[in-house]
């Protein structure tokens, strides 16, 4: 195990940022901490790095007790959300910083530093920018300088706080792929914080979904997306519609329609909310046994999928995703009455509260 966290709790005054968090990250793994703002994901990252001391609990890195060790003893690479580049230093000096501040006995010679920095800049494809200043770089370039600077001290692990948060969509996608390749190439252990579920699902080996200072679920991207452990994870990962339903004996009713529920566990008369992902709803023109009636309110047809906003006859709104082909086939129009069938409906235990 590369990083082990045991029962960490962290409070800021009366706000509990982390509550009894335990987590293990394997050597060479890339883990995403995913959650809404205020969920404690950045605090957890800072506790691992040592920037923030935990109130209780332990942090063990590569088998070594690090709980009371200072930031510099932990030898972690940290990429800050807004990069925190030294604005008065050139790109070269930024990357060289971690080497230059070493105690004299451990400090490499100037020639070695130069070679090391230029190698790193080559790695992040910025070798032509060595003499520039941070203010002269684009967001994506700054991000890569921050990464090279973090790697310069040859850290055992890389911690990234919202690494793509300040970048525009296109650069973000490119850098994401690149970072994953770099991670594999260097054989590092990486943890990154994000609030973007797409980013977490695409990039990470495992996703840690956090909410209100707790871990809701840990699992592979497939796991957390297809088998969300609870309502929160279900809602947070991807779009989801929820409906109020009614229990009548063994049957579950959505409005007047009896529906099949794939995961019925925990559904009782008190708890009457079910979840359906938009792509698991199907629109048809003919009634079926478990189809419920709905009216089309809006159609967004730009993009690979067509998103149709519907109003179910019981008054609830939902969105449906269907392919362009299917959309043309059905020839849907605004305000038309249609039938909707759910391919998969999920329910969660009632004791859960958001």
């Amino acid at each position: 195990m590369s990083i082990q966290i045991f029962d960490v709790t962290k409070k800021f005054d009366d706000f509990t940022a982390l509550q009894n968090i335990s987590l293990e990250v394997a050597e060479g793994e890339m883990v995403a901490l995913l959650g809404p703002s205020g969920s404690g994901k950045t605090t957890l990252l800072r506790v691992i790095s040592g920037l923030e001391p935990a109130d209780t609990g332990r942090v063990v890195i590569r088998g070594r007790e690090m709980t009371d060790k200072s930031v510099s003893d932990r030898k972690v690479g940290f990429v800050f959300q807004h990069y925190a580049l030294f604005r008065h230093m050139s790109v070269f000096e930024n990357v060289a910083f971690g080497l230059r501040v070493r105690p004299k006995a451990e400090r490499p010679s100037d020639a070695e530093i130069k070679k090391r920095v230029l190698d790193l800049l080559k790695l992040v494809r910025l070798d032509s920018m060595a003499s520039r200043y941070p203010s002269q770089l684009s967001g994506g370039q700054r991000q890569r300088v921050a990464l090279a600077r973090a790697l310069a001290i040859e850290p055992g692990m890389l911690l990234l706080d919202e690494p793509f948060g300040a970048l525009d969509a296109k650069v973000r996608r490119e850098l994401r792929q690149w970072l994953r390749e770099l991670h594999d190439e260097l054989g590092m252990t990486s943890i990154f914080v994000t609030h973007d579920q797409e980013e977490a699902l695409e990039l990470a080996d495992r996703v840690v979904v956090m909410n209100r200072g707790r871990i809701e679920q840990i699992g592979t991207p497939d796991d957390v997306y297809h088998h969300p452990a609870n309502e929160f994870v279900c809602e947070f990962l991807g779009n989801v519609n929820f409906f109020h339903c009614r229990l009548d004996g063994e049957k579950v009713y959505l409005g007047n329609t009896s529906v099949r529920i794939s995961d019925k566990f925990g559904l009782d008369s008190k708890h009457s909310k079910v979840y359906i992902r938009p792509h698991l709803l199907e629109i048809s023109r003919v009634p079926a046994e478990d189809a419920f009636g709905a009216t089309i309110r809006f159609i967004h047809s730009a993009g690979p999928l067509v998103r149709v906003e519907i109003e179910v006859n019981s008054g609830e709104r939902a969105s449906v995703e269907l392919s362009q082909e299917r959309f043309r086939e059905l020839d849907l129009k605004k305000n038309e009455a249609v039938y909707v069938v759910a391919k998969e409906i999920k329910a969660y235990p009632g004791d859960y509260s958001i």
Binding site: V71, S72, R87, G98, V101, A150
Partner: protein, 292 residues
């Protein structure tokens, strides 16, 4: 720096302003009023000082600086500035650092306290030291018993000047350091730098212009302070007179030409200060423009 930001906005809006500006005659009146005001209340006195200083010829003008009392006053003024400015740089840095980078009890109170010398009359700033260290003061008898002279001596002048000039450096640095936050410092520490390296290599370069600006204002005030120093100095010629006090003494003795000559020295200091201030603002503006 507020001035620098204002300048930038002005430059940006220049093109658009034409459409919404006042009619030409209003502009002419406003500009004339401002210029006349400046001429009467600022330029005229400066002109008078220079002319009066030179009425008895260049030789007399220079003699006014070279007589022993003037030399002593100049030396004392430089000495006070040389002690006060470094100390206030230290205090200012410490205060700004703790206010900008840490959270602690009484932080608001400390911030308010730093402004105190600005809001208190300089006379009172001097008087508080007389009340504490003077012969009738709280510590007076003890000091006398140990033969330590503070009031009517150089230490008193230094103390009063420190008090009066304390806010300049801190006030300049606090907003600057608050705006910069401590992300860069965190980054430095995580890269293995110790506290000292972090300060010299990361913090100081980031605040150097603000610091210099504060130092210059602090220095100008330290050399020019009259009220507080006047109370604690005792006006002993050749011993406890600073340049501003020396000017007053000369004036009271009807040596107008000499008084104006020495004044012109202080005025020169003001011009140098303004020029430096302007240069720093310009430099800072250029750097901050390059950063956006």
């Amino acid at each position: 720096m507020a001035g620098a930001i204002g300048l930038r906005n002005e430059a940006k809006n220049l093109g658009r302003r034409a459409a919404v500006t006042e009619p030409p005659f209003v502009r002419a009146i406003l500009i004339t009023a401002a210029l006349v005001f400046l001429a009467v209340f600022l330029m005229l006195p400066i002109f008078v000082v220079l002319v009066s200083a030179l009425t008895k010829g260049v030789q007399f003008y220079f003699q006014a600086f070279t007589e022993p009392a003037a030399v002593a006053a100049l030396k004392l003024t430089l000495l006070v500035a040389a002690i006060t400015v470094p100390l206030n740089v230290l205090f200012g840095l410490a205060a700004a650092w703790s206010i900008a980078k840490f959270d602690f009890m009484g932080k608001k109170f400390l911030t308010t306290l730093i402004d105190l010398p600005f809001s208190v009359s300089p006379v009172i700033s001097g008087l508080i030291y007389v009340l504490v260290f003077g012969a009738q003061g709280v510590l007076g008898p003890w000091l006398q018993a140990h033969d330590i002279r503070i009031i009517f001596a150089v230490p008193g002048i230094v103390l009063a000047t420190i008090f009066v000039t304390f806010p300049f450096v801190a006030r300049e640095l606090i907003p600057l350091m608050q705006a910069q936050g401590n992300e860069e410092e965190n980054a430095a520490i995580i890269l293995g730098a110790n506290g000292w390296q972090t300060f010299w290599r990361v913090t100081l370069p980031n605040i150097k212009w603000g610091l210099l600006y504060g130092v210059i204002l602090c220095n100008a005030r330290a050399m020019g302070e009259f009220g507080a120093v006047s109370v604690v100095s005792g006006h002993i010629r050749g011993l406890t007179n600073t340049l501003p006090l020396h000017v007053e003494i000369l004036y009271n003795e009807y040596s107008f030409t000499a008084a104006f000559a020495v004044s012109s020295l202080l005025m020169m200091l003001a011009f140098v200060t303004l020029a430096l201030k302007h240069f720093i603002e310009w430099h800072h503006l250029r750097e901050s423009l390059a950063n956006h």
